[in-house]
Amino acid sequence: MNNLESLQFFIPELFLTAGLLVTIIVELLLKKEQKVFTAYLAATVLLITIFFLIRQYAIEPAALFGGMVVIDPMAVFFKILTAVSTLIIVFFSIPSFRVKAEYYVLLLATTLGMMLMAQVNDLLMIILAMELVGLVSYVLAGYRRSDPKSGEASLKYILFGAASTGIMAFGFSYIYGLTGQTNLFEIQQALQSTQHNPVILFVAFVLIIAGLGYKIAMVPFHFWLPDVYEGAPTPVTAFFSVGPKAAGMAVLIRFIISIVAGVSADGQTFTANAPIHAQELLAVLAVLTMTLGNLSALQQKNIKRMMAYSSIAHAGYMLMALAVFTSQSVEAVMFYLVVYMFMNFGAFWVIHRMTPHLGSEEITAYTGLGYRAPLVAVAMGVFMFSLTGLPPLAGFIGKFYLFAAVIKAEWYILAVLGVLNSVVSLYYYAYVTKVMFLNRGDDESAVSISSYDTALLLVFLIPTLVLGVYWVPVISWATQSLHFFLG
């Protein structure tokens, strides 16, 4: 489709861009105490964008802008998911960033980047979209200028990120050299029609996995993550743990279903395009990712750092499902991301709001919290158990789909290792619950939280509970969205 015709399918992105610009201008007109208004403006922009996005389900899958991006239900799913996660983060951030208007502008800009990542269809577009998200993220990580940790986080993030992008781009250049194409589907066709040197193809593949893996925190490209998560302001950490990760997964899925593999006749499984052991490699990396994440999380004393390693472990679970290359596994990952959004945001929200009261981010500071702030502590316990994957909480259902997809594909060893890992993860999650309820601290004064805090807490808590017993709407949403544009 040519550029002019494509514009009509690009309304959400255009609206978001316009909204972003308007927010910048409005910000200039506001006095300092009024600047919180930009947060509500940003939220409104996102809300309307989500509305436009939902309407996009009606569109027939197609390639836009000369094949640069595609529009298909899967893209819409990830666009909605990332927009919703940003919307939540806007409210998440209001208590700590009341007068920082440009912060919300940056959030909108990342959302635009993530929405583009969800629909990439060209090597160039992958680089551009990922860099748009990356560049803004670097700034966000260092947003608390007075905190030296924040600065350090952004420095580490940008250096690691820049190097990874460079390496990925290098891998792209070889793919381009081999096939002479930059469009993903044309690359797929070129790979299927002619034999290429598998060694070079594999090297290029690994280099690209390094770049994508950095985005979703795959071992061994995860090193930046614990430090950045610890150093960045907590709302930003929470943001990083869901939105950009989901967008990274979307790119990885596109990459797998087009360059690495092609869809089979029944539309259920994907068969490899070239004789490279991509599946085995991804499976091994998935196991490494979850194992390293869980084992490292066991040793952490800082709760944000523990959550950082936990998010590495969760990336591992999702990767495990993706390694089996079936449409069911993609569906499981999509479902898991939704569930993960609620429980992970919830845990970070508790950490964020409790840190000023407890005076520390150490896990031991949570000792006896169950007696000081019962609702918060119960909610935290629910989030922890849900992250572990205990029924009847949302996290269990999410894990169940992941493991079911892996077992259905008959990768039994992989599933057993995954379950084993989630058993290990119980130890550090339950530890938090244990110190909150089974120990008593020196300070027993009640911690009161505002009604705003409680309201947002319930926004995370209720879905975590409800999706554990009634998840039909979400899974059918994922099933509906399981429809790719395949050239």
Binding site: L155, K156, L159, F160, A163, S164, I167, V199, F202, V203, V206, L207, A210, Y214, V219, P220, F221, F223, W224, P226, D227, H277, L281, L285, S296, Q328, F385, L390, P391, P392, F396, F403, A404, I407, K408, A415, V416, V419, L420, V423, L426, Y427, A430, K434, F437, L438, N439, R440, Y470, W471, V472, I475, S476, T479
Partner: protein, 681 residues
Amino acid sequence: MITQALIIWLLPLLAFTIQIFVGKRLPRKGDWVSVSAIGISFMLSIMLMIQMFMAYDPEFAVTAAMPWIETGNFAIPLGIRLDNLAIIMLMVVTTVSFLVHVYSMGYMAGDQYYNRFFAYLSLFSFSMLGLVLWDNLFGIYMMWELVGICSYLLIGFYFTKDSAANAGKKAFITNRIGDFGFLIGLLIVFTTIGSFNFSAIHEGVSSGLLSGGLLTAAGVLLFAGAVGKSAQFPLHVWLPDAMEGPTPVSALIHAATMVAAGVYLMARLSFMLSFDAMLVVAYIGGFTAIFAATIAITQNDIKRVLAYSTVSQLGYMIMALGVGSYMAGFFHLVTHAMFKAGLFLGSGSVIHAMHHSMHKLHLHEDPNDLRLMGGFKSKMPVTYATFLIFTLALSGIPFFSGFLSKDAILGGTLAFAMSQHNPIHFLLPVFGFTAAMITAFYMFRLVIRTFYGKPVRPEIYEHIHESPKQMTVPLMVLAALSIFIVYTLPSFNPTGAAGGWFDHLIQHPHSAVSAQLGHDVLHIDHETEHLAHISGIIISILVAGLGILLAFFIYYWKKADHTRIAQSIRPLYLLSFNKYYFDEIYQATFVRGLLAWNDLLNWFDAKIIDGIVNLSATVTRVFSAVSGLFDLHIVDGLVNGLANVTSLFGNGLRKIQTGQVQNYILGALLGTVLIIIISLI
């Protein structure tokens, strides 16, 4: 009926919700909310029971299901199944739970977290009732985890005691090992049959969707869950430690209901056990029965004796299900729930009295210690009388409920062994009868040392008083429920359950495995069965009598000094006293293993990573010499920094996460290179 069942199930949840949010502010800290909720559930269960008797049909079942989850490849109806098994189990759970609630009003009075205790009890009742009602494995698994969490919370209830908190953790972790198997079994069933529903699984197995080795594996893996929850060897270690919880909890959760959940699950799933899976179940159960009984002989903590006895009795039930005596296993679950709950509540009454007496005297000794008791018979008549009834029931003496169920199990085991060609299977009845003798022995040891003889510590004895009404009435009710006639009506036969309502209503479901194979998995003809039953009665009365005699011989008439006996068989005594060193073995293997893993990681850090780093530093040096020709500035920087860089890499990577961003990038690159190299080789 379904509505009744739903009310029975949901009332405790309502009570829990009220308790947790406003319990503290209610009059009497809201204990009446929990007690009346479970009380109503109890009444409704009686009504269900009556309806069941009106039907008096072994095949009686009411099911209700509504679509819950329906997507392309995933359908779980939300369903409840009320058959005889479920109704009797409901009755057991609500009865014991109600009595324990009442008892706790006396036992826990004045506790700092009184309302929290009742909240947990209600939550537990809700989860346990749910576990009984669901008609599918998925729902059972959910409730299974929830009862586990309640158990964890209640064991650690006295969280200021370190031992209690650790015991809670131990219970939780040990159970997770079993649940790991359960979950995999669940996934196997689901991926092969595509449903969690019992009737669907029955059909699926009958039609061969799940067969052969995978069927055995599924059976054994699901059984692993039961091994954890019902404290079977080798995962039995958590149950004795769980006695750190308040005694009413031990009675309700760790004797009568939750630990029996594993047995209930196996009863529900008995139709899908292949012959090999049955053997695994039978042997694990039989071995646990005798193994735990031998430990109980030497323990001095009154609750620990009962805990090992529980493990042993659960072993009996599991063994019964393994040898195909479905009714006997479930029957023992029911009778055992009553008398074992009674024993725990009775021991709680004794401990309560000891505690108060010691409190008055400002003594700081263990109120659970058998060695400080003796002669309490006259001070605590009600507790003594009921305790004796429970003990007779547990020892398997005719006229008491325990005799009926234990005899059914022993007869079933004998019949199984006789019908098999392999004589090795006679091991099972041997395990069973020996354990029966040991059971009678240690139970009478307990009774004699607590209630008979002269007081060991007169000053403590002086202040012992009978417990309050809230505590003694539940004991009397449970004692009444331990009499044979409750289970044999309309017949009055004290030596066998045959002809009674229980025997009529609980009959073995048709084995799906038999349907699949086209012949019986296990064939036992009537003649063998009859013969086994008769011999079972005679042998079991003999061994129980022998055990009791032996106990009186040593502890009452003191014909032999028990310390001398212990001396003369010291190695054996120590083995039993130290529970076969299982805690130590686990400590040495698993915990050490984890530590060794850590050492390995450290070694890896020190040797391998440093080696790689040094190598790469060398490569850097070589490379820089070449590239330096192009750029003088880089060379300068390199030459100056080289020493630093090398030492930095050498020392900096002790741990992978050094805080140095360059090391991170290096790690990622080395990872990439390693992936490529390994894959290409």
